[in-house]
């Protein structure tokens, strides 16, 4: 009986200590995992329908941590056995998501450009101060990528304490300290991508979108790096309404490509505020 009580108290402490305080929910319509409306999944069978289709982002304050729960329109699988990767993995293989956060909502304050490989910019009033990376890759690999490809964003990129998959959700637990606190007034945006273990030399573990899809390349974009390499994003008001589909396509279509990179126009995406 004594043992039972100890176990009970132990479990209660864990559960109570993790009850959430502030909570935010952003919904996204299903079936809009086509970027600007034209993107096609890679052809290898591991990229199952709905694997990059955001349906919900839930953000919960839990004690000293903040939990980001990103739900997709397919069960999360680990076809490449991430635990066996040279530096170990987090139990899923093909997904990768970047959660950009605007903590001050001041025009021109923060970073304008998305991380390398995404080919996105943020609207002027929505530059970002923090980016939480939900990746199957180990902290060591992510840190190495940051050093090589995103050194200038180093202090603004947040690698979660814990990242794992559960059913259709990817869950990242981030220390509030790393995040610089937490407020439900902040703006959020998700850039849904696919984890590429052998990325292009400038890309932050992102999978390319080309003109034509390949076994491990998205199709429906451009062979130049002028198109947004994001498969799904949140669109205000992020209530999962049908109109958000067209709005997303409209936002992500606004890129211009040209053999001369100086003539490229990169898309600007908004943040969503509650």
């Amino acid at each position: 009986m004594k043992r039972f009580l100890i176990v009970f108290v132990f479990c209660t402490i864990f559960i109570v200590s993790n009850l959430s305080a502030a909570e935010l929910t952003f919904d996204d319509p299903a079936g809009d995992d086509k970027g600007p409306g034209t993107y096609i999944y890679p052809t290898d069978p591991v990229y199952k329908k709905g694997s990059f289709d955001i349906t919900k982002l839930e953000i919960k304050e839990k004690g000293e941590d903040v939990e980001f729960k990103l739900t997709l329109n397919a069960k999360i699988e680990d076809p490449w056995n991430s635990k066996s990767w040279p530096q170990g993995g987090n139990g899923f293989s093909i997904q990768m998501a970047f959660i950009f956060i605007d903590t001050d909502h001041k025009e021109g304050s923060g970073e304008e450009d998305g991380l390398p490989g995404l080919n996105i910019k943020f609207e002027k009033e929505s530059f970002w101060e923090r980016c939480v990376i939900i990746s199957p890759q180990s902290k060591a690999r992510l840190n190495d990528e940051i050093k090589q490809k995103a050194e200038k964003f180093k202090d603004k990129i947040v690698i979660p304490k814990k990242t794992f998959a559960q059913g259709r959700s990817l869950i990242a637990v981030v220390s509030k300290k790393d995040l610089g606190g937490f407020s439900d007034k902040w703006g959020f945006q998700v850039a849904m991508q696919s984890n590429e273990g052998y990325p292009d030399k400038k890309d932050f573990l992102t999978r390319k979108v080309n003109e034509y899809e390949g076994p491990h390349r998205f199709g429906g974009g451009s062979d130049y790096d002028c198109d947004p390499h994001v498969i799904d994003i949140l669109v205000p008001p992020a209530k999962g309404e049908k109109g958000e589909v067209d709005k997303q396509y409209e936002i992500l279509k606004k890129y211009k490509c040209d053999p001369d990179p100086s003539k490229w126009e990169i898309v600007r995406i908004p943040m969503v505020y509650r």
Binding site: F14, I15, S17, N18, L19, S20, A30, G31, Y41, T43, D44, P45, V46, K49, G50, T55, K56, K60, K62, G63, E64, D65, E67, T71, N73, A74, K75, P79, N81, S84, P86, Q87, K139, A140, R141, N143, D144, I146, K147, Q148, K161, K162, F164, Q166, G167, R168, S169, I171, V173, S175, Y198, K201, E211, Y212, G214, P215
Partner: protein
Amino acid sequence: MKKIVLLLLLFTPSMLFGDTANFELSGKIYNKWLYRNNDSQGVLTLGNPFWPKEGISGDNGAGSEFELNIKGRVSQYVLATVRLESRFGSIWQDWWENGDIKYDRPNTSGESLGMNHAEYIKLRGYNIRLSPPIPTITAISVGSSDFSMFNSYTIGKSRYIDRDNGKGIFVEGAFGNRDLEYILGIIALPKLYVGPGWSTGIGDPILTNPFYSNDYAYAAKLKYNVSDRLNITGIVSFINDLEADLLDPDAIGARYPDCKDELGNPIEGCEKDHAVSLDYRYRNLNATLETQYDITDRISVNLLLGYSLSAINEKYVTNGVRESQGMFPMIYSKDPVSDAVEKLLVEVVPFEDINYQLKLELFNFGENWTATFGTRREADELITDGFLEGGQLPTLNLANEFIDFDEPFYESCIGWRGVTLLNNLNTGDFTFSLEYTLLTYNTNKQNRDIDNTYPNFTYSEGYTDVDFYDYSNTLDRGRDPRSVYKRNQDRLTNIFVFNSKYIPSFLSRLSLMLKAKYIMDKDGRKITTSDDDYDGKILTLRLSSEYQFTDEFKAGIGYQYDNWDEKNRSSDPSETIYYDYITVKHKPFLSLSYVFGGASIKYYLEYINKNQNRGEQTPHENIFKVFRSKATMEVVW
């Protein structure tokens, strides 16, 4: 004329030289150092079990390999990929071994060790992917494939080192918005392992001419995405290993080449016509139907049903169960054998606010289930930790070779029937998982014919020691992970596993891991007596810790304790006297990792002190005091 010459000069170069900008190149260099306190030489712990003198396996050596991948977009419809890779097996000391000759023993000629030590670049993979404007067809793929589009029960994904060795032609397509997807494939049957005796005829003493160039497997997959939450996938595969009909006088090795029987009498209907008819040597039909239903975001159900049919043609297959001491990758039966698999996995996240997941798996693998082309390793079909940590696969054709000491072993789950309950909790700084598995066996049977029909892989007794595994079992390492059939078995197993990880908030660079595993394994063997009853209590405890000192450098230490108390573990050859075993292992280990600038460096060192007390046998104790290490350095660009 002048204009024509000018035009020719202008256009010829561009026609002769391809556009190199269209060549996407990627490379990789992999180095490995393997060292142990023994005197074997080589860079691979466990090499080829059939050809142990292949010259690359051994515990001391440093070796390297180079890989070059080339990808070319021929046009908007055609993608071509190639992988070139050097042969792994040479060690750094093998100065100028050029592979000309392989002598009986190494000498100073620089030509003594053969091609395994020549580091030649081999064409490992090639694929042309065509996207023709044909309705429903998304692509036609010709060449290398790892077969990952099918599943472990039919045609399994090739192991990583074999990822480009398989060749075939595949047609992929879809109807609607990928609502109905299909893949059709014809695959050249690997002559080295997919068939009776791990071959499609090579090395079978019955055959004079192992005719393998017409051997193919055929597969079809149809996936119906009924809705965002429900999909149904059907896969069918058929293996067809053919030989020249030995009753055809035109065939090499024909039984009656002169169309006369043993007594010299003409055989009716026998006639040479310069055409050779074919007969089957082995056939294997497998089919699965899998339903994935995500009832809500927090509840999902997966149901898999499978059927297998395996048929050996005795005319062309030597009975390896009889002739090779039970070393044979399938049931040897005059009549075709068939069986089924049923597996149900329910995953539930019951609470909105707590990251707790419950998984319940029910499974039933028929005792005669045969998947000769199934997945051989690097996959896991059951959620249980099982006996061995690697994974459970529904085939006897497992590949626990070409691995190093730090790589996992895989075990066959043929005949397994049971239930697993797995709890995962992620809360605060802790991650826990708790597993309970009750396992009984469809292979429980008395007086099973393991002399002629069911392969037992010679060694069926005792908990498998994967730390000191050897193919010929000179180390008394216990059961072969493929050994699912025994003459007398009445077995029941309980498995308990607890895993935890702690990353303290106040020191998030530190992680502490604990694993505890306890297996209660009982086998009544002959049900007519209790004198031979096996009672195994297998305890494993592992505590480890890692610390990320800098963004680049991580170090870990740990300790594993094993205590295996096995009553009546093994017998003398007469199976009348059984010996009790107590095995105690202490394994401290150290790991270092450094990732910087695209280079990944890893080092692992372990010491194993093993004492296997073997009861009344001589020698009474089997002692191991082994230091061994592995380092790797890899760069990809």
